[in-house]
């Protein structure tokens, strides 16, 4: 099978698999978050947490809970790393130094999973399992909970209640993430992914040298790291490591896990809003951007110019031979289109344009389909802005899902879409202005700049992947990228919840023939257009000096 055929088959099979799960998975999440009654397991947990499950929260209360939960997670994860040396099952690793521990704690609680360290030589089993894996579940659940709260804002009328964060968090973890991750882990073990509690094995290599093979609970971590669009793997090589992702088959499972929840969230939105067509429209926006982007990445990698790529008919540097260009390209697109950031190939080695598209995927705010929950709320904010601009053109005060988009809504949506570009651009400019930081670049000129742009795009948008050559483990980058991750996650969440609160208070406006239709292809096209013109073009200057200059030389 040629690379092109392989790519087409892979993408077509993926689209079919995602389309098949859109309704059942979306409906399942819908039932989980809207069920009235609490079952016994839940009640037990609420009692243990001291939560009154039927006490619904206002947006402020919801936001406070999210922030408190994130702060607590951050502190616990930080302490766990610092105290690793004194804990059992540390695999002999000592405590993690403060700057890195802060960076990693922020990274995992914000669903970013930027890894400034090498997993197998820094974190033992206890930190991996009790710290990082737990965050892989709950940080993903936080994203879904916030998205659900926003949708409640659209769906509810004349109320200030948005649901209960602790209930949403518990249910999403228990009934969405855990079951799927469990099934996925079994499938991955069956596909050859390692899962053991054994000590490290030392093996003799063919050349006679010693190699330490670190095992661990790889399959379980692999499942949730992708399902929860987290991305932080147990190995530095991430999903290109054969213990994490041994075959094309496991590769397909991983990409599917990355995309399945984000692509099903629009269904949850449609169901909750009482109009399935609205969900299809949002899914269509995600689909259009994702397909174009994936096509571009695979295309640039397959038809790369250059002596070596021409000789092997594709750009194979940094890609695993067992995956080839198509599997690597699709994985890279999927991981940057969502907030995952796990990799099965090295993005630094992609062609300039291919790497540029990966950066652009993140710069769009990761909305196609985006991180679990985060993708949906990000895209809904863009839809609100689109509705505002387009809605005026039909001669009415703009409405989305029968809620008026007035000054307050626009203020919150505008602030939302300011946050990540501001973090990215200010962080990048500040870093470039300090000469010592330039030493973190592996390459000089445009490619070096791309590495740094990529780092800030990844951190600000909570992606977590990197251009591998970039030396991010310095005090400056640990701190600044940590701040980008923290603000890039929490500020948008607070703004989204405020938007939800403001929408929930409104009485719905009746839909008439004069209402701007938000379920038709025209609207889908407009959201795509607004995303590209208002968001993507903002980054054209840096992209021109980075990947474009690199590729057009």
């Amino acid at each position: 099978m040629s690379e092109t055929t392989a790519g087409v088959v892979f993408i077509a099979a993926m689209i079919a698999a995602l389309a098949a799960t859109y309704r059942p998975l979306g409906d399942h999440i819908f039932r989980v978050v809207t069920r009235e009654r609490h079952n016994r397991v839940e009640r037990g947990l609420y009692k243990a947490m001291g939560v009154r499950p039927d006490a619904e929260q206002r947006w402020t209360g919801y936001a406070r809970s999210v922030l408190a939960f994130s702060a607590l997670s951050l502190v616990l994860l930080y302490l766990l790393q610092r105290l690793q040396g004194s804990l059992p099952l540390g695999n002999g690793f000592g405590g993690v130094e403060p700057g890195l521990a802060w960076n990693t704690a922020v990274s995992f609680t914000t669903n970013t999973n930027w890894q400034a360290y090498s997993g197998e030589s820094t974190m033992g089993i206890v930190v991996q399992a009790a710290g990082l894996s737990v965050q892989n579940f709950v940080s993903a659940a936080v994203g879904i909970a916030v998205a659900v709260a926003l949708v409640r804002g659209f769906a509810r009328k004349a109320t200030d209640k948005l649901g209960n964060f602790w209930v949403d968090l518990t249910r999403v973890t228990l009934w969405v993430l855990l079951p799927i991750a469990s099934v996925a882990a079994v499938a991955l073990v069956a596909g050859g992914v390692v899962q053991n509690l054994a000590d490290f094995t030392t093996a003799q290599t063919a050349t006679g040298g010693d190699q330490t093979l670190t095992g661990g609970l790889i399959a379980t971590q692999e499942a949730i790291k992708n399902l929860g669009t987290n991305g932080g793997g147990p190995f530095n090589a991430n999903a290109s490591h054969p213990f994490e992702n041994p075959t094309s088959w496991t590769n397909f499972i991983l990409v599917y896990l990355i995309l399945c929840i984000p692509f099903s969230m629009p269904r949850v939105f449609g169901r909750m809003a009482g109009d399935d067509r609205q969900g299809y429209a949002i899914a269509a926006v995600m689909g259009v951007i994702a397909i174009v982007s994936t096509g571009l990445v695979v295309g640039f990698e397959s038809f790369a110019n250059g002596t070596v790529p021409q000789a092997v008919a594709a750009a194979m540097e940094g890609k695993e031979v067992r995956f080839g260009v198509a599997d690597s390209g699709v994985f890279a697109a999927a991981t940057t289109l969502t907030s995952t950031g796990s990799v099965n190939s090295f993005h630094d080695s992609f062609t300039s344009f291919g790497g540029g598209v990966l950066m652009l995927n993140m710069m769009l705010g990761e909305v196609a389909p985006g991180g679990v929950g985060a993708g949906l709320y990000g895209l809904l904010v863009l839809a609100v802005i689109t509705v505002f601009i387009a809605g005026l053109m039909v001669g009415r005060t703009p409405e989305y899902l029968r809620k008026k988009i007035g000054a307050r809504e626009i203020k919150l949506a505008s602030l939302y879409f300011l946050v990540t570009p501001a973090l990215l651009l200010i962080g990048l400019a500040a870093s470039l202005a300090v000469p010592a930081n330039l030493e973190s670049m592996q390459d000089s000129g445009p490619h070096g700049l791309s590495e740094m742009v990529y780092a800030f795009a990844s951190a600000s948008n909570n992606n977590g992947s990197a251009f591998a050559g970039f030396g991010a483990n310095t005090p400056w980058f640990n701190t600044v990228l940590g701040l980008c991750m923290l603000f890039g996650r929490l500020l948008p969440i607070v703004l989204v919840l405020a938007l939800a609160g403001s929408l929930a208070k409104q009485r719905p406006v009746p839909a008439t023939a004069g209402t701007f239709p938000t379920h038709k292809p025209l609207f889908v096209g407009m959201v795509v257009g607004v995303t590209i013109v208002l968001v993507a073009l903002t980054f054209l200057p840096v992209l021109a000096l980075g990947p474009l200059a690199d590729g057009l030389q």
Partner: protein, 712 residues
């Protein structure tokens, strides 16, 4: 329909007339004051940029630097001039209005007693501005009414052309719904006593002047929201441009061999170019025209003789979901007229005509008048002045009782005659011991089925049971072309509800003929109010017209309440718009104007944003192709040189403001239709047009600019 007496320049005429631009130049310069510019963040940034490039050009003069600087100042001035032109058009109207507001001397009644029989009473001369609410003034033929008020005594013909532009005089008289007079209008015949209802400086004339001059202009909700979005976009572009600098320095450093140019040197992108890029990217087109669009929207309303009390009301008109239309005057021609008397068996036609006339003398409504007129035309019954009948107690028509009549005391016994809505009169007959003739129901049904309005006439001689005499047939004629207009409104999602005092059957027949969506029959003011409340609770926005005092609560409750100028002061106070022509049909036009205002804003915003694509492709390669020649591939317009590319983008950006001023003032083409087709059309014209136009425009300007020595 009349037009304003004032000769305001019509929208679209001579807008690109250089004379008009020259005239607005002083105002445009005055508006450069940063304290005024600050209110428009987008253009304020452009002004700051212009100040910055001026300083740079002074420090290091070059043709390029000065060209950019001049065009940046022109960009700001064009924006200010657009606003000034919009305001000028309002001022022209205000000036001619002011002429009506001469310093009249009012003749205040010395003893403030309205009950006078002749104008020969003691008065005190007071300057009009000193009049207070509640003062009684006497106005005789040839004199100007000193302030807004209600006629409390007398009847007069009044020339209101100064305000309404309508040259035919109107009758104003005490009582009823034709009692309101406006300051600045002139009494042509007879005399009246007017009770002043407006405090000085708060009259319609004052408000109208303030409104058209734009001095009372406050930002409307949608305008505020749009401003926030534009400010956010401005911030993001400021960030994009500012943060580009370190990356540019880094890149220039990397390619140190590349020559320094006027665009990029060792210190990074030059200040002139950074400002140029920023100004081209921020939404200047809509930023420059936003306030002109708002002023022009208000102006379009004034040109149609409608006074809106706030911009908010105009915007609300665009959002209306339900139109409450009074049947009379809107759906049907003017007034219903009596067209026959149908007596019940046993009653002579002449007796019925006589009773009908008698009971209508106290009914000042046009229908009541038409009964008297018809009785004279068909039966030769002379109209009896009210004072002629001794011992008569007149029962006036009210919207609550829906009956009028008279009680005449003769020889110690009272003879009572009533005429009114069928249900009310029949109830009255029953209450007075009568048993209505069964034929009455047939007659009422017959009239109703034919779309007419039946009025029942009954009498009651003291000591005997009351009895029904017959039915007056009032005929209603539906206006032509209304069905098509209602269908258009329906396609836009606007529901029309016809409001009428008719019984349900009559209402249904007329509603079906006129093609309205729904009707409210036998409507009392409370019913109208309840309907508005119901609609609003379902989230709908309601617009209505009204003129009577009892319409006031509903006018106040409606989102858009248009009071008729002929209406009472109470009605005018309650509404948020006043139609000087008193034409209820205009409600439909008002909705159109509101929609057009919002559409114009949306269209120009879309255009402005879409323009950015071409500007990126003009400027980014111009800046960086020197260090990375490969980036010249982005120069898809093949612009001659970096300098000419940047100048062309800046010039295009300025010129597009001038080119779009007529559109901003006239509003985008508005054809009623469903939202999806409006969107498709506007998106094609302003979205796609906004993408393509600058590619062509910048290229054409570049062809010219590149001819200038030193630019190519």
């Amino acid at each position: 329909m009349s037009s304003m007496a004032t000769v305001a320049p019509k929208a679209g005429n001579g807008l690109l007339d250089p004379k008009q631009w020259a005239k607005s130049a002083p105002a445009a310069l005055r508006k450069l004051d940063p304290r005024l510019m600050w209110r428009n963040p987008v253009m304020f940034i452009v002004e700051l940029g212009a100040v910055f490039t001026t300083a740079l050009a002074l420090a290091d003069p070059s043709l390029f630097a000065w060209t950019i600087t001049v065009w940046l100042w022109l960009t700001v001035l064009f924006a200010n001039a657009a606003e000034a032109i919009a305001e000028d058009r309002g001022k022209a109207q205000a000036d001619s209005l002011r002429k009506a507001k001469t310093d009249t001397l009012a003749r205040r009644l010395a003893d403030q007693d309205p009950d006078i029989d002749s104008p020969r009473v003691a008065t005190v001369e007071v300057p009009a501005p000193d009049l207070r609410r509640g003062d009684l003034v006497l106005v005789e033929a040839g004199q100007t009414i000193p302030g807004d008020g209600d006629v409390v005594t007398g009847i007069a013909s009044v020339d209101e052309s100064a305000i309404t532009g309508e040259s035919a005089p109107v009758i104003r008289e005490s009582g009823g719904d034709r009692c309101a007079v406006m300051g600045g209008t002139r009494v042509l015949s007879d005399w009246i006593v007017v009770r002043i209802t407006a405090e000085p400086g708060k009259s319609f004339l004052d408000r109208m002047i303030a409104l058209v001059e734009g001095s009372e202009r406050r930002k409307t909700p949608n305008e505020i929201a749009l401003n926030i979005l534009l400010a956010a976009m401005t911030i993001i572009f400021v960030l994009a441009v500012v943060t580009m600098q370190p990356a540019a320095i880094f890149s220039k450093d990397h390619m140190a061999a590349a020559p320094d140019t006027a665009v990029l040197d060792g210190n990074g992108v030059t200040g002139i170019v950074l400002v140029s890029l920023l100004v081209c990217l921020i939404p200047t087109t809509i930023g420059a025209l936003l306030s002109a669009i708002g002023i022009a929207g208000m102006d379009r309303l004034v040109q149609r003789n409608v006074l809106a009390m706030s911009g908010r009301a105009v915007e609300a008109a665009g959002d209306v979901d339900t139109l409450l239309l009074d049947k009379t005057g809107t759906v049907t021609y003017g007034n219903r007229r009596a067209s026959s008397f149908l007596a019940v068996p046993g009653i002579g036609a002449r007796a019925l005509a006589d009773a009908a006339q008698l009971s209508s003398l106290a009914d000042e409504t046009p229908e009541g008048r038409s009964v008297v007129v018809y009785a004279k035309e068909a039966y030769g019954l002379r109209e009896r002045p009210k004072g002629e009948l001794a011992g008569a107690t007149w029962v006036e028509f009210t919207a609550q009782t829906r009956m009028s009549g008279v009680d005449i005391e003769e020889h110690g016994s009272v003879h009572r005659v009533r005429k009114g809505a069928a249900a009310s009169v029949i109830a009255w007959v029953r209450a007075n011991g009568g048993d209505p003739n069964p034929r009455v129901d047939d007659l009422v049904d017959q009239v109703s089925r034919e779309g007419g309005t039946p009025l029942v006439v009954a009498e009651h001689q003291e000591g005997e049971p009351a009895r029904v005499l017959g039915v007056v047939y009032l005929k209603d004629v539906v206006k032509e072309g209304m069905a098509e207009r209602f269908a258009l409104l329906r396609s836009m999602g606007i529901r029309t509800v016809m409001v009428t005092g008719d019984n349900p059957r009559t209402a249904k027949a007329i509603a079906a003929e006129a093609g309205v969506d729904d009707f409210l029959a036998e409507a009392k003011p409370e019913d109208k109010m309840a309907l508005i409340k119901r609609e609003q609770e379902a989230g709908r926005m309601v617009a209505m017209t009204g003129d009577g005092t009892n319409d006031a609560p509903a006018l106040a409750a409606a989102d858009v309440g248009v009071a008729m100028n002929t209406g009472t002061s109470a009605a005018k106070e309650a509404g948020n718009m006043i139609d000087l022509d008193s034409d209820p049909t205009k409600l439909i036009e008002i909705v159109g104007i509101g929609k057009q205002l919002l559409m114009t804003r949306g269209a120009l915003t879309t255009f402005s944003i879409a323009n950015d694509i071409a500007k990126y492709f003009a400027i980014i390669p111009a800046i960086f192709a020197v260090i990375y020649p490969g980036l010249d591939a982005l120069n898809i317009m093949r612009l001659a040189s970096p300098e000419s590319a940047i100048v062309s983008a800046v010039v295009f950006n300025a010129i597009v403001i001038v080119a779009l001023v007529p559109l901003a003032l006239k509003g985008v083409a508005y054809r009623p239709g469903p939202a999806s087709s409006l969107l498709r059309r506007n998106l094609l014209v302003y979205g796609l047009g906004g993408i393509v136009t600058p590619f062509i425009g910048i290229k054409l300007i570049d062809l010219v600019v590149s001819l200038i020595p030193g630019m190519a």
